[in-house]
Amino acid sequence: MTNEELKYSITELLPVATYDESGEFLNIIIPSDELIPLMKELRSKKEFDFDYLFCLTCIDWKDHLMMVYHLLSKVHKHCIVVKAKITDIQNPKIESVNCIWKTAELNEDEVYDLFGIRFLNHPNLRRLFLEEDWKGFPLRKNYVDENMIKL
């Protein structure tokens, strides 16, 4: 499907979604609590069939956190970017997509480790890279580390 068609079909599914088409892919920006229903549709519906989650990450925009999911359909060869906005910056949480794409498990561990977003219904949420007792979430913009030497 082309970006236009995708946009049309997704608007039908989720009217609250907003779009950003400035970049290479179609970006869909949704509130975080709408994530799982939309993702399930994107995965299961034959016309979407987004079976390949190739990049899962997060961006800290200081006033909110943005989960970014890059999806690709191996069948239809179309790409889409789903961005879920998390406004609660103190205690961020979002549903895990591990039940849809298995690759999400370790990726979400990583995001939890570096951004501190808690994933609900995640089978084994743990700090993946840093020690269990590490204080703070280093990729947050407000992270301070006295050991870090700035250039």
């Binding site: 840093l130 050991n147 870090m148 030497i149």
Partner: protein, 176 residues
């Protein structure tokens, strides 16, 4: 072959180097020499590589550079049987206790070569990083530093020859 000729003169002068006293007695000096000869010529490295430098360490073992010429090729996977740990690659905070433990598991005498910029000082990851140990000498004592990112296999061989020189000047029977 006399390796001494190939080490630049300034590298032989080393602060804190232990010099043999003349009154050490014939036998002890000779035994010392034998032991140091054996040790310097039989440095078994631990298979320990964390990142890029490990590949150059492997290259030093390959047919072109072939560190087996010096008797270094018996790379041991178990720290108990190793004499030398070549810290090849960045050491991060999470790895530091493991490295220390590996070092402690090695029997004396043990030697350390810090290979590459990351292990010497944190190198490319010195600034703006939160998880990198800024130099492996914060964790374990280092005998020889070899800079580069990563150093060539020849540079690693050079560092091992330098280490051999150091061992040859050690005293096994320390005098009070």
């Amino acid at each position: 072959m006399d390796i001494k000729n190939n080490v630049p003169a300034n590298k032989l002068i080393f602060p804190g180097q232990i010099h043999e006293t003349p009154d050490g007695g014939f036998l002890i000096t000779k035994l010392d020499e034998v032991i140091n000869w054996a040790r310097s010529n039989s440095l078994w490295p631990l298979i320990f590589g964390t990142s890029c430098c490990a590949i150059e360490m492997m290259s030093a073992a390959d047919a072109k550079y072939d560190w087996s010429r010096f008797g270094f090729e018996v790379a041991r996977a178990s720290p108990r049987q190793a004499d030398l740990i070549i810290v090849a690659g960045t050491i991060v905070m999470k790895m530091a206790p493991v490295l220390k433990r590996l070092y402690d598991q090695m029997p004396d005498p043990k030697y350390v070569i810090a290979m590459g910029a990351c292990t010497i000082s944190g190198g490319p990851f010195f600034y703006n990083t939160y998880s990198v140990v800024k130099g492996v000498d914060h964790i374990i004592p280092v005998d020889v530093y070899v800079p580069g990112c990563p150093p060539r296999p020849e540079a690693l061989l050079h560092s091992m020859i330098t280490l051999q020189e150091k061992i040859k000047n050690e005293a096994f029977f320390r005098k009070s």
